[in-house]
């Protein structure tokens, strides 16, 4: 029973943690807002809010027996209640104290399942003392006029001091945005649903899209069957008059003149006539069926699309849900660097797909950090440059045309020092040195130079701070944003600083992709990364400096074989065709023509991650689920371009005596065994095709010539014994050697195999590839 208590307590704590996290977040946002707000009545409102949040958190902590959180809240609550009573204002030191308290609360919540550590308890004790010792005293005197020269980051001894904020700065209407509005819909109108459950609903709604496509396939199948029946009816209609004439002649014949087969012939003709009616009826039934199926398809389609849209809407969250951590981040960051920075959010209510938002958290934090670290100057520098001492970082989000979201992060700092970027780029040999001889032709223009900062290794920061400066961040930002189907660009902001602009899809959108086949594998190339899909004559391939190139639109492009780049087996039959299929990826001089075996078409695809185990796979960006439910990997084009350049130049794989190779058919229902058998046999030099069960194998055997059949015994639809018997009974196949591979090893099974006509019998339990290969070699 104790165990149940424990489980209950765990659940309780999990609930508490979620609730408490919201309180702490609101508290933190409230403190930031309070620090920036000068208007007394506004401040009063904010104090009221933080007081309430603290109070609620205290109650919640008491309910789950987290004493340390409760007492800490208690102290903070008293602090706020004093503040509430008077027109008290807070010093920078007191704000620091409160922020510190919030940090400790967050830490306590982070490990809420465990008992607090000694260090945590000591911190709580210390903070409580400081909170009670430094409570706001009512400052009866009106707040003095604020002077600009009070260092904001002075770790002044906590004492009642006038607000250090200048009354005129940064109290725009946007300021109010960072303060969470009181939740308008507490009550029956909203329901809390665990995200995991919503995700499950989304996945299932997405799979309805597959059902929609399947329904369409059904319609097509029925239409095909219908046209067959109509063709049959037409043929019958042609012979019908003859049959009728024949019947009439039979009927006119004198009874005495009748011949022996007449009755039978008449019966046959009558039957044919009836069958005509039957075929007509069937054609009509198929027509009705096709219409009904079409109707079903359309209604399923519109329901599925509507449902998916609604579910996506349900998964939309306002930008504020991730941006609200930023004000505190900026505050803490600017303090530690001795900078004075204001942070504003515009359009915090703009909604965007939760999945996008989640992946956007790191890029946003990074960009803000970038502005904070490299953009905004120290107060002295700013004043010297004639700028206001307080810097500004602004994040604005808005919906733009085409159902896309634009997020701009701009600062009024020093901007990106282009000459430094040029130097670094030169050092890394990414670009020719700046100002080197002939102007313009070799030196980078400003736009191209700005682009360089997204390259890894380029950082203009002379020192690596704990915040940024490692030169990797922006590369990651770009990669993350591009993976979401968005883009990121950088420019100068009107205020002279830096301006990063992110454009993102509103929902985790589908994008267009080119579906290609390479050997037996299929892949999707994102269309956005492609410039061309072409087919060229094989003879056009030329070797230049040991690398293959191909002329396209008057330019020689490097040629890479996709199979080789990905290190997968290629389609050997393809090596004999007269032309090659190319997919050209990349931009400008960075283009590479990838040779694939077949382009299957272009279609809408929805990107999905590869699961938690596969965080990042070389050359693969994700996967998508096709209409038929099959999963196809999506290629990561930037990786591919790099890989293609790394790949050792190698000529066309030799086409050995391919035509003379024996072809084998492997029938096996287990996908892993199928792959294994195929692999072993292909390595041994055979052409191998596979079948998923006996019936599939039999169909393939009848449509294509094979030299030998390797079959599992236990398969659905038609087992190996039946398949063997069927092969033996078939005139065309009777001599085909058959090797049975099976888990059944009893003598009776062996005999049954022999009886059915198998030439060899290999037991799975003692399976050894040399046994199989020996048996096959003997039979061929």
């Amino acid at each position: 029973m104790e165990k149940n208590d424990e489980a209950f307590r765990k659940r309780l704590l999990a609930t508490f943690r979620n609730e408490a996290a919201e309180h702490v977040q609101a508290l933190s946002s409230g403190l930031i807002a309070l620090e920036k707000t000068a208007a007394p009545e506004e401040r009063q409102g904010i104090v009221e809010t933080v007081f309430r949040e603290t109070h609620s958190l205290k109650g919640a902590a008491r309910a789950v027996g987290k004493g340390e959180i409760e007492t800490l809240c208690q102290s903070m609550e008293s602090f706020f209640s004093l503040l509430k009573q008077g027109k008290a204002s807070l010093s920078a030191g007191q704000f620091d104290l409160l922020n510190e308290t919030v940090d400790v609360l967050s830490a306590l919540l982070g490990s809420v399942e465990e008992a607090p550590t000694k260090a945590q308890l000591a911190a709580v004790r210390e903070l409580r003392q400081r909170l009670s010792g430094n409570g706001p005293r009512n400052t009866e005197a009106p707040a003095p006029v604020v002077r600009n020269d009070i260092p904001p980051d002075a770790q002044a001894p906590p004492s009642p001091s006038p607000p250090e904020d200048t009354a005129g700065v940064a109290i725009g209407p946007t300021m109010g945005k960072t303060l969470p509005d009181p939740p308008p819909l507490r009550g029956g109108d909203t329901v809390r649903v665990p995200v995991a459950r919503l995700d499950a609903i989304l996945f299932q709604s997405e799979s309805l899209l597959a059902a929609k496509l399947t329904a369409h396939q059904r319609v097509m199948d029925i239409r095909a069957a219908q046209s067959d029946v109509i063709a049959l009816a037409r043929q019958r209609a042609r012979i019908a008059p003859e049959a009728r004439a024949l019947l009439r002649r039979l009927e006119r014949r004198e009874p005495g003149n009748r011949r022996k087969g007449d009755t039978r012939l008449r019966r046959l003709l009558e039957y044919l006539q009836q069958e005509d009616d039957f075929i007509k009826t069937h054609a009509m039934r198929l027509e009705a069926l096709a219409k009904a199926a079409e109707h079903d398809w359309r209604s399923l389609g519109s329901t599925a699309d509507g449902l998916l849209d609604d579910v996506k809407m349900a998964l939309m969250l306002p930008i504020s849900s991730i941006a609200e951590v930023l004000p505190k981040f900026v505050r803490d960051g600017s303090r530690s660097q001795g900078k004075d920075v204001d942070f504003r959010i515009r359009g915090a209510e703009t909604e965007i797909d939760r999945r996008i938002l989640e992946d956007l958290r790191d890029p946003l934090i990074h960009l803000v950090r970038n502005s904070l670290d490299h953009g905004i100057e120290k107060p002295e520098t700013r004043l010297a440059a004639g700028k206001p001492r307080r810097g500004l970082i602004e994040l604005s989000a808005s919906q733009i045309e085409g159902g896309r979201i634009e997020i701009v992060i701009a600062d009024d700092g020093a901007g990106i020092p282009l000459d430094k970027v040029r130097d670094v780029a030169h050092r890394l040999q990414l670009a020719p040195p700046s100002g080197n001889g002939d102007a313009g032709s070799t030196a980078l223009d400003d736009a191209a130079c700005l682009e360089l900062i997204f390259q890894s290794g380029v950082s203009t920061s002379p020192i690596v701070t704990d915040l940024s400066g490692r030169g990797l961040g922006l590369t990651i930002v770009r990669e993350k944003v591009e993976r979401l189907g968005g883009s990121v660009s950088v420019g100068a902001s009107p205020a002279g600083g830096t301006r990063f602009r992110l454009v993102l899809p509103l929902t985790l959108a589908t994008f267009r992709g080119v579906h290609v086949r390479c050997g037996e594998r299929e892949f999707i190339f994102p269309s956005a990364h492609l410039t061309q899909v072409a087919r060229v004559a094989r003879q056009a391939i030329a070797t230049v400096e040991n690398r293959e190139t191909i002329p396209l639109n008057g330019q020689a492009l490097s040629l890479a074989r996709l199979a080789q780049v990905l290190d997968i087996p290629a389609d050997k039959a393809q090596a004999r065709t007269e032309s090659v299929q190319l997919v050209v990826a990349g931009t400008a001089e960075n283009r590479i023509a990838f040779q694939v075996d077949e382009v299957l078409g272009e279609q809408e695809v929805l990107v999905k991650g590869l699961g938690r185990q596969l965080r990042r796979v070389r050359n693969i960006a994700g996967a998508t689920v096709l209409g038929n439910g099959r999963v196809v990997p999506i290629l990561h084009v930037p990786d591919l371009l790099k890989s293609a350049r790394h790949a050792a130049p190698s000529p066309e794989p030799a086409t050995d005596a391919d035509a003379a190779r024996k072809s084998l058919l492997v029938a096996e229902d287990s996908i892993t065994s199928r792959l294994l058998l195929k692999g072993i046999l292909e390595t041994a030099g055979y052409n191998v095709k596979t079948a998923v069960d006996g019936l599939d194998a039999y169909t393939q055997l009848r449509t294509e010539p094979f030299d030998l059949l390797v079959s599992d015994v236990d398969m659905p639809r038609m087992n190996g014994f039946d398949l063997t018997a069927k092969v033996r009974a078939d005139k065309a196949l009777a001599d085909l050697p058959v090797v049975l591979v099976t888990a059944l090893s009893s003598r009776a099974d062996l005999e049954r195999g022999a009886e059915a006509g198998a030439n060899a019998y290999i037991v799975k339990g003692s399976f050894d590839q040399s046994n199989l290969l020996t048996a096959i070699r003997r039979l061929l």
């Binding site: 165990k3 799979s207 594998r521 999905k608 996967a623 229902d669 996908i671 892993t672």
Partner: protein, 208 residues
């Protein structure tokens, strides 16, 4: 004569047992198969007792609930708390540029799940041709992947006291993830350790 011969091998009939069973049957027939009130009360009480006894779970340290599966002819067990679901492997998409132990990815109701071949991860000799057509999806708060099994036998509860630390035949990587071996023998693997192992995580990009 012939009858005697036929009866000869069954000479050791326990007549008292036969009589006892006959008596039981007679008793049952007379009572129309229904136990008397006292007996009914006893049975019900015993049943209530059995139902009221809480099932011992993994967390109490005495027993461990494991899912039992076959892999390369050997029996394995894994903590049931980490098993999300089991399904037959019907379709699989292989991924290039991944280590051999990553067999590929599958679509589980719209979610992409990677599938691991433990034989390759543990570097086991691949003797025999398994069926390998069941996927056991393991998950923790931070990780989800499927492992391949030839077949899944079911769930069973194993007392911890029954576990032996190891077997001399268990070598290599497998030993690292070993929770213990039962007498049967069944190799019980530490699912939590597998799920938390960074060696199973693929995180690579192409060098510039």
């Amino acid at each position: 004569m012939s009858r005697e011969k036929a009866a000869a091998p069954r000479r050791s009939i326990d007549w008292s047992d036969v009589h006892r069973r006959l008596e039981q049957v007679r008793h049952a027939v007379e009572n129309d198969g229904t136990p008397d009130a006292q007996e009914t009360a006893r049975i019900l009480a015993a049943r209530a007792q059995a139902l009221a006894t809480p099932k011992l779970a993994e967390s109490d340290g005495e027993t461990i609930d494991v899912i039992e599966f076959l892999l390369s002819g050997e029996r394995y067990g894994m903590g049931f708390t980490y098993v999300r679901e089991v399904f037959p492997l019907l379709d699989l998409t292989r991924l290039p540029c991944t280590p051999p132990f990553v067999l590929g990815i599958v679509n589980v109701r719209g979610e992409i799940v990677s599938v691991v071949d433990l034989r390759k991860f543990f570097d086991l000799p691949e003797n025999g041709l398994g069926d390998l057509n069941k996927v056991i999806v393991l998950h923790s708060t931070a990780m989800t992947f499927g492992i391949l099994a030839d077949s899944v036998a079911g769930v069973r509860t194993v007392p911890r006291s029954e576990l032996q630390p190891s077997l001399p035949t268990l070598t290599g990587l497998r030993e690292r993830y070993l929770l213990g071996v039962t007498g049967d023998p069944m190799v019980i693997l530490d699912a939590a350790k597998l799920l938390a192992d960074p060696r199973l995580v693929i995180d690579e990009s192409v060098a510039p």
